[in-house]
Symmetry: none
Subunit: 268 residues, 2 copies
């Protein structure tokens, strides 16, 4: 019965990464993913527009009693909403993308996620649709791509198998494996929603200038700009500074007089 099976719930680790399934088609895969998560102590499952709705009888059947995960599962309309509260967004994809993104394997990602959690920063790992994966506009929301070092001639994993490899890599990871170079010191990383807000400010300002030339070129130009800033792993303060830069540069267009940047406390 829903809500009455508490198996494994005591060992869910609040510092474990969230798992986001974008557009999952099969309830069986959702259930098997929930089972794999609970096997490894992960408790936060987020679904983006599951094809057959939610809750799902097929998911219940294949979760083998992972009620603690299913009962807490939340649905979102799009990936941006699902990852809005996260400081670190990882996407899994076996396919090379024409995007400049950091690429790590599950082992490195797991160590990074542990280290981030120790700093109070939340991480999620996003998995695409069973057949079509993630769209480019979704991949661009992530700071880092996780690739799995599989047989190059046969690299396609079942969705729940992919979730298991990530969850298990996290469970068996220790932060000591992490190369300290990659950890910015003392910075409060921006959430994904804050970063997206900056993107929208910049792109809106550029729209007024004709920078994007044509509607056809706009998507790829936007994607390239977003990837560039994603790579920088912006702090919340840097996001505010860049809002100030955009406002300062573009604001004068209307007023022809210097307008102070509205928010910029980086030197205070």
């Amino acid at each position: 019965m829903a809500g009455t099976d508490n198996r494994g719930a005591n060992d869910i680790d609040p510092h474990a990464p969230s798992i986001v399934l974008v557009g999952p088609q099969l309830g069986e895969n959702i259930g098997a993913s929930a089972r794999a998560m609970l096997n490894c102590g992960l408790g936060d499952l987020r679904l983006v527009a599951p094809r057959d709705g939610w809750p799902s009888p097929q998911a219940e059947a294949s979760a083998s009693g992972a009620r603690a995960v299913l009962d807490a599962t939340r649905c979102f309309d799009d990936m941006a909403a699902a990852v809005a509260d996260q400081q670190h967004v990882y996407v899994t994809t076996a396919r090379p993308r024409d995007m400049d993104k950091r690429v790590v394997d599950p082992h490195v990602a797991a160590a990074e996620i542990r280290a981030a959690a120790q700093r109070g920063e939340r991480s999620c790992v996003v998995f695409g649709r069973e057949r079509t994966g993630l769209f480019n506009d979704e991949v661009v929301l992530a700071g880092t791509v996780i690739t799995m070092p599989l047989n190059p001639g046969f690299a396609s994993l079942n969705l729940a198998q992919a979730v298991l490899l990530i969850a298990y890599a996290w469970r068996t990871s220790g932060a000591e494996a992490l190369d300290e170079r990659t950890i910015p010191s003392g910075r409060a990383l921006a959430t994904n929603a804050e970063v997206v807000g900056l993107f929208e400010h910049l792109e809106g300002a550029l729209d007024l200038t004709g920078f994007f030339k044509t509607d056809a070129l706009r998507p790829v130009m936007v994607r390239n700009l977003r990837n560039l800033f994603q790579r920088a792993a912006l702090s919340d303060q840097e996001v505010r500074s860049l809002h100030g830069v955009v406002t300062a540069l573009s604001g004068l267009r209307k007023h022809q007089v210097p307008t102070p940047a509205p928010v910029d406390d980086e030197a205070s």
Copy 2:
């Protein structure tokens, strides 16, 4: 068609461990195990008295094209026959046994298997029945027990998930973790002079807006902005795009009409 799909076969490693499934009940689990094996470059699957016989239409359906494994799969009457040619026999079990056996985790087992293969010694990993596991008379045939460090309150893995964890542990063992942290291939990094040129363009544009507030604040604000862009490890193309952004946003100040970005070929 049986035998005509050679996907992934070129990357089967003859030194990989054999996988032995004892008394598997569901063809689906056999097929999913074959898929997980081929994902990781394992090719030798052995079945002990599969409940529904062999070959299995359910296994074919769930193998997702792992024909190279299914076509080579052999059946045996009992576990002793299946492991007779092996120097090292590992069994997987989540349950403690009243037996005095060596116990290792998948990571250690994988390293041992690689080292043994270098000495010309064969290793196999044995998995029990979905519900009842291995009998004591079967466990006793093994030299070592593999246990997985899972959530103690929810440790039961699906059979194919267990095969995947072992296969992946083997695949990722002994080699340095894939770490493409540095720079994804194909990017032409900007020179330092190009990056500094961008900084000077941006800062000069900001000087005209009053963004820097006071001469005293300017150096630290400039330094923070430069650090942010340095972290992104800009390509030469991205430097050109950002010149275009600065020009587009600030150029309108003077002309009040859209000025095309002077250089931006990222979408060409």
